[in-house]
């Protein structure tokens, strides 16, 4: 499927403006030539940062590509990449790209079954993985999928000295490649010029909220034009310091940590482990920071818990400063310029509170802070903007390299997501759906003509999001077109819209609103153990576990009041009338959410059918038998008594 400038066998030549040799590897090679000693990548290893400059970066990529070539990887092959962010995995991806093969990353915590489907669907022969854990997972799968010929692993710990056939270490491949490069001096140049801008650079996957994930191939030209559009509009600058901590299987990591990093010569910083990411973030203090609304909100919760535990004087000062800044920021979003006096107080606050808080989080040097993926809570958004971070919203999907629409510094707002990037066209289809066109929009799903035809019509990408365009050109995203749901009383509502409003409270981690074809709306809540636990401590509510805390009457009163507040701003008929605090959090491992933490409603409906029935039967509590799966694979049942609360007394 490589180098096919003609779409779907037809003779329309797409992307006529793309230059053949304008691809990621030439960009990398020119970086290695022009700024050979500048730091391209840092990885924290055993407490200190190991650095790679651009020359070393290219040397690793080409060396690995030559080694991979020796192992028989052909153009068009799909190579599975599995693991956390590691320099060697980034080198592998680019090495694969160098050979015109296609890297296909997967989330490191993907369960074996999903991985098996991906391997078979994409006929993967070679997998490049992080460590022994992933090797073991693949070795298990190889028994039922013998097509997997070679597993290359980065971290040899636990694998050294074991000679498992069909596995080889990254360093061995690299060493072999280097030898070959030494023997054939022309090979280096040949490898660098081998790819083509029309080649698929990466095969990403849709999150699979509904059905199996779809493969989304992005070509060199797509990601490069996406990045260039963003840079032209000033959303990225040259030489940013960036933290590569988001999963490599997510589109954002490819565009930020590889495409933008190469094109704009970023310095990429890779944390030692997921668990140390926050600590390592503080050590690096990046200039560009991207995080999901959930992570921003988690950060806010962490600060609030920390302040609640702090000494009275610090807490008093913090509250005064933050309240003031939030007030000023609220005015600023309405277009009011802060007065001289307010600016003076903000300067003092910057020294006293805002600066130290940003320093504690490692965000003190961030000049461009972004969030995308879902709606961000007003509290969270205002808080970080009040701290002095220019937090802005982004809008995009994997299909458009996640770079489509963003807020500029001037049109920051809570409701809208901003304006399209230069080079991206936006309009609304007849049914109010946002559709996009531009060079960064992909050319169709992997081996799925039907889905492609549904999504790409005349070059316009149908996002599936309902939206509207304001008078000033700002685009507002309302929710998924497919998610508009009707109750039995024929009230139209978008569950995610209501859920997001509830999740803006730090006490609520997840929520699922139910109401399709029901008389009224109800909700299943998952409390946030950190925030509620801390609240419980302060209010003298004792608890031993998540389950017990969630069922405590005091916590019910707390969630009750949150929903009461929400109901006052919801339109008539959309009020949540009954709710239950779930004894556990929704978990991707149980299939209740996707890896990107979006709810899988069908799974929830089915798994918690008994609870939902009890809610609509008007019961006050339920003895729920929860099926659980142990780590050993055994299944069992745990009985939980759950309380169901009503907010509204119904007359019947």
């Amino acid at each position: 499927m490589q180098h096919d400038p003609f779409k779907n066998g037809s003779d329309t030549f797409v992307h006529a403006n793309w230059q053949d040799n304008d691809h990621l590897i030439t960009v990398l090679a020119s970086n290695a030539r022009e700024q050979a000693t500048a730091i391209a990548m840092r990885e924290r290893d055993q407490g200190i940062w190991q650095e790679y400059n651009w020359a070393q970066y290219l040397e690793h990529v080409v060396g690995f590509a030559a080694g991979l070539d020796e192992h028989g990887v052909k153009p068009g092959d799909i190579v599975l990449i599995l693991g956390d962010n590691r320099p060697n995995l980034y080198f592998s991806m680019l090495g694969t790209i160098c050979l015109r093969a296609i890297p296909s990353p997967a989330y490191p915590d993907t369960p074996p079954q999903e991985l098996f489907d991906q391997l078979r669907r994409e006929r993967v022969r070679v997998a490049i993985v992080e460590d022994q854990e992933q090797v073991d997972k693949l070795l298990g799968l190889r028994e039922t999928y013998p097509g997997l010929e070679l597993i290359i692993y980065d971290d040899p710990r636990g694998l050294d000295g074991t000679a498992i056939p069909g596995t080889v270490s990254f360093s061995a491949v690299l060493a072999r490649g280097r030898e070959k490069l030494k023997a054939e001096p022309d090979l280096h140049k040949a490898l660098i010029s081998r790819p083509n801008v029309h080649d698929v650079a990466i095969l990403l996957h849709s999150s699979g909220t509904t059905g199996t994930p779809k493969g989304i191939p992005l070509k060199h030209g797509h990601v490069l034009s996406g990045v260039r559009n963003a840079a032209a509009a000033g959303y990225f600058h040259k030489g940013e310091i960036h933290m590569a901590y988001l999963p490599i299987a997510w589109v954002g990591d490819f565009t930020f940590s590889i495409a933008a990093a190469l094109e704009l010569s970023f310095t990429i910083n890779i944390p030692e482990a997921q668990e140390t990411a926050l600590h390592d973030l503080r050590e690096i203090a990046p200039t560009l920071y991207f995080s999901s609304p959930r992570a921003w909100s988690g950060m806010l919760t962490r600060i609030q818990v920390g302040i609640a535990e702090s000494t009275p004087f610090k807490r008093w000062l913090y509250e005064r400063c933050i309240d003031f800044a939030v007030k000023v920021e609220r005015g600023r979003l309405k277009g009011k310029k802060p007065s001289l006096y307010q600016r003076f107080i903000l300067k003092c606050g910057e020294f006293l509170i805002y600066g130290p808080v940003k320093d504690q989080l490692g965000l003190s040097r961030v000049e461009r802070a972004y969030t995308a993926g879902e709606a961000i809570g007003e509290d969270v958004f205002l808080f970080f903007r009040a701290l002095g971070l220019n937090l802005r919203q982004f809008y995009g999907q994997t299909e458009n390299c996640a770079l489509a629409i963003a807020q500029s510094s001037e049109d920051v707002s809570l409701t809208g997501v901003g304006r399209p990037f230069p080079g991206v066209e936006v309009k609304l289809s007849d049914n109010g759906e946002i559709v996009l066109r531009g060079d960064n929009i992909f050319d169709g799903y992997y081996n799925d003509v039907e889905a492609t035809e549904k999504t790409l019509k005349d070059g316009w990408l149908h996002t599936g999001d309902a939206g509207q365009i304001e008078k000033d050109g700002q685009i507002v995203v309302l929710g998924r077109v497919s998610e508009i749901v009707h109750t039995a009383a024929n009230v139209r509502y978008i569950p995610t819209y209501i859920e997001n409003r509830l999740k803006f409270s730090r006490f609520i981690k997840d929520v699922c609103v139910i109401g399709a074809d029901k008389e009224y709306l109800s909700a299943i809540l998952c409390i946030d153990i950190d925030a509620v636990g801390q609240w419980a401590q302060e209010n003298g509510t004792s608890y031993t576990s998540y389950a017990e805390l969630s069922q405590s009457p005091a916590v019910y009163d707390l969630t009750h009041s949150l929903i009461t507040d929400l109901n006052t701003i919801l339109p008539a008929g959309q009020a949540i009338e009954r709710f239950v605090n779930l004894h556990k959090q929704f978990d991707p491992d149980d299939g209740e959410m996707t890896r990107t933490r979006k709810l899988r409603r069908d799974v929830i409906d089915q798994r918690y059918a008994a609870i939902i029935d009890a809610i609509y039967a008007g019961k006050g509590n339920i003895n729920f038998e929860a099926p659980i799966t142990y780590e050993t694979g055994q299944t069992g049942v745990i009985a939980r008594a759950l309380t169901i609360r009503s907010l509204v007394k119904r007359s019947d």
Partner: protein
Amino acid sequence: MFYRIAGVYHTRYDKARALWPVPADRWQITVVVIFALAAPFLLSDLYLGSYALPWLIWSAATLSLTLLMGLAGQLHFGFAAVMAIGAYTSIHLARFGVPFEFALLGAGIASAAIGALFGAAALRVKGLYLVMATLAMQYLVDWVINNVPAISGGAQATLRTPPSSFLLISLESLEVRYYLALAWAVLLAIFFMNVKRTSFGRALVAIRDKDFAAAVIGIDPFRYKLLAFFTSSFVGGVTGALLAFCYYRAVTPEQFGFNVSIQLVAMVLVGGLGSIIGGFLGAGFVLLIPIILTNLVSGLAASGFLTVSSNLLAHLPLMIYGALIIGFLVFEPLGLAKIYDNIRKYFLVWPFRHSRS
């Protein structure tokens, strides 16, 4: 507030082990060092000669003693005697015509030799018994100095230091003597900071915590205790010589009496055992607070805010001083260094109570 540590990262372990990885600590130290260097231009001769100079020398003495007491955990109640040996050795060498630099070295060696000798005797005993043994050293040395005219120059005699120079610079002027004392105090502080990070320093700490356990992990307690006595006595001897040449400019036996030993122990304890900043703070507290209190009380009395009998007036500063020491030790038994550390940490995690990362 002042401590900003985002963006401090290390690419090599030796950088990660730097003495002050936090920028705010570095500028604080820079300010202190600049002030110390500029002191002769900022302070009058009175303040420089009778406050700053003795403070530096007593800080050096406290650091010498805290190496033994704080790091190696060996109590020493006769440290004034160690300094006396240094002072007398240097003065006799200088009068004999030995250059001052070598006289200082000789002072260190003589103190180290005698100090280690008593140390060796004390190796078999611990705790209170070691206190008794070192007290014995104090009285023995006192007795020898007093009763050997060759050393003391006769009973009740005062030996004046001969005019001398350090590295060709005459020690006549107060500024030169101040800078010499400063250089020695800084040198000792740097030495102490680094000793804590060497295998020697770690061995001493292991012995302090439990000498049996240290022996089990392969540290020879005998050797290291002896080395601790030797090192501490060496720097103590040099400090004693500097005290004689830079501050008193003469020696009499009373300058190194038992009460001085006790005062040194007080400096170490009030400052904080085994701490460098505690050495400076402890010496400053014990040395300067009585003076400040006396001035304060007499100032208050003179201006009429305080109407007490002149008898009480003389004792009031001492009473407050005693109360302060008790107060500090009750409030923070780990000394002034710990108070400084608490303040630093208060700002380090600002605006939180604990570290967030």
